[in-house]
């Protein structure tokens, strides 16, 4: 194990701090006395991943060895997490590939012929051939694609079945293929604590009917935070749904975790604390800064999205879902937790170029909100780093730019819905159904590579808790019209933003900069 995460106080010797800024980077000098929270160093990866996987499958937690569950003539469905994690995407081989290869080989040895591999993309977009190939590897891809390796279709009226309602009345649907299988194996990658567990199957192979049970403004407002499942209403709902699924289908869960080695060598400076930068890191920074300052957005995007992260496998466990997930979360927390003493008046953060919903696409303004006020704000346990009524300062270009293939309904959400109201509860009531049932979005989700029509709503609900919590949001370097449309304030420089923030939080505020990615989970005391 390398160094644990740290909270550094800015003094005269502190070098300028790295802020991600979409498809760019900037160095900012934080006021003296500000705190900077750094992620722990990457955990030491498992030395022999294949061996660890075999061991997990052979010695599962509270379940029988996988080999004993496989038999000739059975119907086997193997679901796996889609490309929304990890971020940036993992350099090959992806850990899912390693697990899938082991599972498939084991199934073949047992004489199982009816095997389907399904990307559990839920209401996320369909992955392209290349994207699937990247996750599962060439061998599996060439063997199974396309008839036995495909994306889940949550809008296939024949392909999804209502299996019941939970004690709270939440509908639970599941892919027909999974229901009709003798065994469903889920291959997960838990990147942050909200991933995995019962949520995998309940959402991954669910449909709008089941996902809408917990992807609501109210649930998200009651998840403090959804990055800490015990305090997350969203996860409690998923657990209820998952238990119903476990009662209906024989499931076997395989979960993996990776360390936070998020950037390749060329961008190693992003991984490191500024005090640790070597001359080579400084040169890399200058080169990337120069490139991103000068290159047109399309070129920058292509360069950034081609980055692959050299994550290392830190754990793999298999068996019964709860036992498996508890173990996974232990490892994930060990990698991510950073103790932070007390809350702060102002939190600053740089929003990177990629979030879970824009792999190979633009981080559009709605996703900027989702990323900053959704994911990054919620990376806490206990209470947010930002105090109630404090000011969140995010750095991002926040341009009015959308990927029309991946995010068609986001464009309408931005133009139509946000022009009317930004209140998540109001938005849900007035607009969600219309988007969810729009036949064109449905078709683009099913036949193209578009996120489901309802997806921008979820992106916005994701930020509901933060929107309620913060006193103000200021976007540094953002496009003024777009930032205002989102309901936020715009500042040209961090200095200006800090001065503006004082109008809300008063003079001499406490400031904490969340230096991520690499991601961490703030354990706020």
């Amino acid at each position: 194990m390398g160094r644990p995460g740290a909270v550094i106080e800015v003094d005269r010797n502190t070098p300028p701090t790295l802020f991600h800024h979409g498809e760019g980077v900037r160095l900012e000098r934080l006021p003296l006395g500000s705190r900077i929270v750094y992620a722990p160093d990457p955990m030491e990866p498992v030395a022999h991943p294949e061996r660890a996987i075999r061991r997990a499958l052979g010695h599962p937690l509270e379940d029988d060895p996988l080999r004993s569950l496989l038999r000739s003539g059975m119907k086997l469905t193997v679901a796996f997490d889609d490309l929304s994690l990890p971020l940036p995407p993992m350099a090959q081989p992806d850990v899912r590939q390693l697990v899938l290869e082991e599972v498939v080989e084991m199934a073949a040895e047992a004489g199982v012929e009816d095997v389907h591999l399904v990307a559990a993309n839920s209401l996320h977009r369909r992955m392209t051939e290349d994207e699937i190939r990247h996750i599962v590897g060439d061998r599996i891809f060439s063997t199974f694609y396309p008839d036995q390796l495909y994306n889940h279709d949550a809008e296939d009226p024949e392909g999804n079945i209502l299996i019941g309602r939970t004690s709270h009345g939440e509908e639970v649907t599941l892919s027909r293929r999974a229901i009709e299988s003798d065994l469903v194996i889920y291959v997960n990658l838990t990147f942050v604590p909200m991933d995995g567990g019962h949520k995998s199957l309940a959402t991954g192979l669910g449909s709008y009917r089941s996902v809408r049970a917990h992807h609501t403004a109210e649930t998200l407002l009651n998840s403090r935070s959804y990055m800490h499942p015990p305090d997350s209403a969203l996860h409690q709902s998923c657990i209820r749904q998952g238990q119903l699924i476990e009662d209906t289908v024989r499931c076997f869960h395989i979960e993996t975790s990776v360390n936070n080695h998020s950037f390749p060598a060329v961008a190693n400076f992003m991984q490191k604390r500024e005090t640790d930068w070597t001359p080579a890191d400084q040169a890399s920074f200058l080169a990337i800064k120069q490139l991103t300052d000068l290159a047109p957005p399309g070129v920058k995007r292509a360069v950034f999205h081609s980055m692959r992260a050299p994550y290392g496998l830190t754990s793999v466990q298999a068996g019964q879902v709860d036992a498996v997930h508890d173990s996974t979360l232990d490892t994930v927390r060990r990698q991510m937790l950073v103790e932070v003493e007390g809350q702060t008046d102002i939190v600053t953060m740089g929003i990177p170029y990629v979030g879970p919903y824009n792999v190979n696409a633009i981080l559009n303004p709605v996703l900027v909100v989702c990323m900053g006020l959704g994911y990054l704000f919620n990376l806490y346990r206990g209470k947010p780093v930002l105090r109630q009524g404090g000011v969140l300062i995010m750095a991002h270009p926040c341009r009015y730019e959308f990927d029309s293939v991946q995010h068609p309904s986001y464009i309408d959400f931005y133009d139509e819905v946000l022009a009317d109201t930004r209140d998540p509860v109001d938005i849900e009531k007035k607009y969600e159904q219309c988007f969810a049932e729009d036949p064109w979005y449905r078709q683009l989700y099913r036949k193209s590579n578009a996120y489901h029509g309802v997806h921008p709503f979820y992106a916005w609900y994701w930020a509901a808790h933060a929107l309620q919590h913060v006193g103000d949001v200021i976007v540094v370097g953002g496009q003024r019209a777009a930032v205002h449309h989102l309901g936020f304030k715009c500042a040209s420089t961090l200095e200006d933003a800090l001065e503006m923030a004082e109008q809300t939080v008063g003079r001499y505020p406490s400031i904490t900069h969340l230096r991520l990615p690499p991601l961490f989970l703030a354990d706020v005391k």
């Binding site: 133009d415 139509e416 064109w440």
Partner: protein, 391 residues
């Protein structure tokens, strides 16, 4: 009397066309337009009266003629030289404030029996525009006999005159003529309460069509395509539900109609789309967009005056669109005169907000240049103020 006159001159027309209708050429001494002392028009028969224009608008059809972009179809339907200006509020010799309904139909021409269209009250479609007591011309402002609004005096038949309510200032009354056109267009569009209607364009005709549709055939959703901030503001004020930019029209109409969008090589198309579209730009782009976002079997009402535009007829054919023109006014199906409907509705619309700046006749070059860029300059109806000539 002082008037601007439009002469039919092939060399001048060729020169103006060659420069793409550049204002500096289209209003120069070498153009078709000429400011000067011209003989006052004489009443061609009984029932004709002198009108002294107070405010006279510059219409898109006027600028099209001046810049050489008007359809040549109109040439044989016009007599030269004529004094332009058909959006007119003025005074009779006895001081009565009037607006002129410029269509020159059978009654005005003293023809009995009237042609079949005039008999139905559809004077804009008169088939006798070459006959009778006045020279060839569809309207006052395109006829050599009557004079027009861009001169000190014109003559009009009493059936063409409508008294202006006191609470309607000249700046609002000058818009009654285009407003009547738009009321007629709205009624021809015949949108119903469940429809999604698109008004394409937000110049004078577009904005007044928005108002007319909102008042006379209110739909479920009224989408307005507006380019400039002032137009967007006015479109909202006059009843548009959703104001969108020209570049986002397919996206927003798709959403409003829950249609499907396909992206073609040149421009997108919607499967589904608007029930009724009012095309108020008269441009090739506007028309080509409209035929692709109006739903199959839907209605496309061409309100803005188009020239010889290149339009892809494929969508019209395949979508079985009902494409219809909406020209002028007359008596509507309800038996009411379009002008009466417009005059009754206008006082509540604060139409004077749309008028300005006003120019003196002597500044016609500036006025026309301004009118050609009205949208960009946050103007809607640029007009001549002739009240000082009366004094």
């Amino acid at each position: 009397m002082l008037a601007l006159q439009y002469h039919r001159s092939i060399p001048a027309y060729a020169l103006v066309r060659a420069t793409g209708g550049h204002p500096s050429v289209a209003t120069s001494d070498l153009s078709m337009l000429d400011l000067g002392d011209v003989p006052e028009p004489r009443p061609p028969g009984p029932g004709w009266m002198r009108v002294r224009p107070s405010v006279s608008g510059i219409c898109g059809s006027d600028t099209a003629a001046i810049t050489g972009h008007a359809s040549l179809y109109l040439d044989p339907l016009t007599s030269y030289p004529f004094v332009p200006g058909h959006e007119i509020v003025g005074q009779l010799d006895d001081g009565t404030r009037v607006v002129v309904e410029p269509a020159l139909g059978c009654r005005v021409r003293g023809l009995t029996p009237p042609c079949r269209h005039c008999a139905e009250g559809r004077i804009g479609l008169c088939e006798n525009v070459t006959e009778g007591a006045v020279a060839v011309g569809l309207q006052t402002g395109y006829c050599a006999s009557t004079g027009g609004g861009w001169g000190e005096v014109l003559v009009a038949h009493q059936s063409q005159l409508h008294a202006v309510p006191d609470r309607l200032p000249d700046e609002a009354a000058v818009l009654l003529e285009p407003f009547a056109c738009c009321v007629h267009a709205a009624l021809r569009g015949g949108a119903s309460q469940g429809d999604v209607v698109v008004v394409q364009g937000a110049g004078t005709i577009g904005l007044l069509t928005v108002a007319a549709v909102r008042l006379f055939t209110p739909p479920r959703r009224l989408v307005v395509v507006a380019k400039y901030p002032f137009q967007r503001e006015q479109a909202k004020r006059l009843g548009g539900d959703l104001i969108v930019g020209p570049d986002e029209v397919f996206q927003r109409v798709r959403f409003a109609t829950q249609a499907r969008r396909l992206d073609g090589l040149d421009r997108p198309l919607l499967l589904g789309g608007a029930d009724v579209t009012f095309e108020c730009t008269g441009s090739a782009r506007g028309l080509n967009d409209a035929v692709r976002f109006t739903r199959s079997g839907g209605r496309l009402v061409v309100v803005g005056m188009p020239g010889e535009e290149k339009v892809d007829w494929g969508p019209i054919w395949q979508r079985e669109l009902n494409v219809t023109g909406a020209y002028a006014y007359g008596t509507e199906m309800t038996g009411e005169r379009t002008f009466d409907l417009a005059i009754a509705a206008a006082p509540d619309l604060a139409l004077d907000n749309l008028t300005g700046p006003l120019f003196r006749l002597g500044d016609y070059r500036d006025a026309i240049t301004y009118a050609l860029q009205a949208g960009r300059l946050n103007a809607v109806k640029v007009a001549f103020d002739l009240r000082d000539l009366r004094a």
